[in-house]
Symmetry: C2
Subunit: 361 residues, 2 copies
């Protein structure tokens, strides 16, 4: 496959290695790995995960659950608050597969009980300190109400948390602190609910990457680790070599006078997420493409993005080595959002890999 425009390359071997590493970590903790598929959004890539031993999936929308159910995944958790407006679709899906939904309020559980008849497993989402959503352990009345609403049709199977406050430059010590606070929060909620056999589901990529000991946890639910990215490398979750996706971008203009290279590759390919380690924003790390993939050594950074333009700040040496029509590689800042923006991926073997298509729903 000849690359002529921005194309997200996936290194299958790196993906498989990342998955094996995380499977091993889960296993050594006696936990299950239920990776979040919101990073790759792809049945083709999910098939690699299945070959490595993954059997359960996490997704973040009902549409995504339907897509993966169609691809043969029969045990899926929607790790996004139950949306009353999609009750009918949840009902349909629950008739086909083992469907686990996420409850963040008693109102949501009341709605689920009243509007969905097919059997559902549900998790209570616990706010372990991120304050995005979920139930705070100190809201004992709310948790008590949920516990009272337990009925026989739908089954409370566990407690789930996403420690999103690890999304910053991390150390193992900091991640351990967040983890022990999370376990404390789980224990508090568990004691109020008064049910012992609950699955404790935990999983953000920084914690799952930095920690080895997950005592008290039954399920790990990271997503990003499948690809990793520059943001995760900045958080210390991974090395540059572990990043499994790279955008091939054509050089379309060179402005030697201001040390800038313009590539075809902009916000509609990468998203506008950035890191700013020293106050200077970077929208991607430029690397050299090779016959066998790419060399992970950074050669420049993407300074800014508009809709289709990417502007690279480049050394004199890099400027001299490039001409228009060349391809450069760019490691994305946030692979989940970058992946979401693609129509498809291309493997290093030149194969097109299909993914969830927003126009198909």
């Amino acid at each position: 496959m000849k690359i002529t425009k921005p194309t997200l390359l996936v290194d299958e071997q790196k993906v498989r290695k990342n998955v094996r590493m995380m499977l091993e970590k889960a296993k050594s903790n006696g936990a299950e790995l239920r990776p979040h598929f919101k990073t790759h959004h792809s049945a083709d890539i999910a098939a690699w995960l299945r070959e490595e031993g993954v059997t359960k999936a996490t997704v973040s929308s009902v549409d995504m659950a339907k897509y993966f159910a169609k691809a043969g995944w029969d045990d899926i958790t929607i790790a996004f608050p139950y949306n009353p407006l999609e009750a009918e679709e949840v009902e349909q899906l629950a008739k086909q597969i083992t469907l686990n939904v996420t409850i963040v309020s008693k109102e949501a559980l009341v709605h689920l009980n009243q509007h969905v008849k097919a059997p559902i497993n549900y998790f209570i989402k616990v706010d372990v300190g991120t304050h995005r959503t979920g139930i705070l352990p100190e809201l004992t009345d709310e948790i008590g109400h949920i516990a009272q609403s337990l009925n026989s049709e739908h089954k409370l199977v566990g407690l789930l948390a996403h420690a999103g406050h690890t999304y910053q430059p991390m150390t193992k010590e900091k991640a351990e602190k967040v983890f022990s606070e999370s376990i404390k929060a789980f224990d508090e909620v568990k004691s109020i609910v008064g049910k012992e056999d609950l699955i404790i589901s935990y999983g953000d990529t920084p914690s799952c990457s930095l920690l080895d000991d997950f005592a008290g946890v039954n399920e790990l639910r990271p997503g990003n680790f499948v690809f990793y990215d520059i943001m995760q490398q900045y958080f210390n979750s991974c090395s540059l070599e572990e990043i499994a996706v790279c955008m091939a971008c054509p050089v379309v203009a060179i402005h030697a006078d201001r040390n800038e290279v313009v590539v075809f590759g902009g916000a509609v390919h990468f998203s506008k997420d950035f890191i700013a380690p020293d106050g200077n924003r970077s929208f991607g790390t430029v690397v050299q493409l090779s016959e066998t993939g790419w060399d992970s050594e950074p050669i420049a950074h993407v300074d800014r993005l508009s809709q289709e333009h990417g502007i690279i700040k480049a050394s004199d040496e890099l400027i001299k080595s490039l001409k228009i029509g060349d391809l450069v590689g760019i490691l994305p800042v946030h692979s989940c959002l970058t992946a979401d923006l693609q129509g498809y991926y291309v493997s290093l073997a030149g194969q097109r890999l299909n993914k969830f298509n927003k126009a198909d729903v």
Copy 2:
């Protein structure tokens, strides 16, 4: 059509009104309107523009040009630097329609002359001060080389600029200054090229919205004005009432203790673009949906976004009025990127409007 998940609503009457306003402005200046279709990416919406009198289009990629050519648009400018790697596709397209490409270096023109045989019109892109790409008027040698490379197969039809440095809070006076500097730059390049009958093509949404007098310009090329958005309103390009798109988002959690409402509607629906007028980021303006569309009066702001979650900072009053399963409207910060993220639009009449699909290429 029942709305159950994040859905970008388009108000057809507002779109048509915005288009008529800009057509009128072009006409009163004796100029043509060649709107940039990178905002809506939709053949269905482009059909409304055609009904209003638009006959020529601007796009930002070869794929987008192919999509609109298929929808019957036969005079298209690709306002993105000519990409040597897509020479073959440019050739194919030039056989079917009047295709105008953008040249930003002598190397690009040399490549075009050597690799594309079908007749092409081309514009030289002039850097009028944005410093994204384009040729600076002071690069007289470069411009001279391009002028010498003029050959009979491909035709230099004009000079094109995008004054992207108007993308900030603007006044008419500031936009006038940018405009007069741009005209000066055009004149300088024109005198070096030594060709009189050149189309002068100008067009960013802030300039085209704030200015009335475009003396010296033959073609206006704004894009965003079709929808407008919160960023353009912040730049003073439009009023809130002129914004023609609004995302309907389901409320999925309410955290009264911290005055936050969580909606289904995140970075994969809106993009991560934001404005920060007083240092505080806003990722969208919350409005009330109504029977006939939405009320443009802001009732809250989107404080942060993750992949599918939107977090709204809400007053006690708003919190009290909402329950999970309600829909709120969110005016997007950057409608071009928001539109790019959709699988389709829905009109206020409940009709699904199709758009360019990245998986189709």
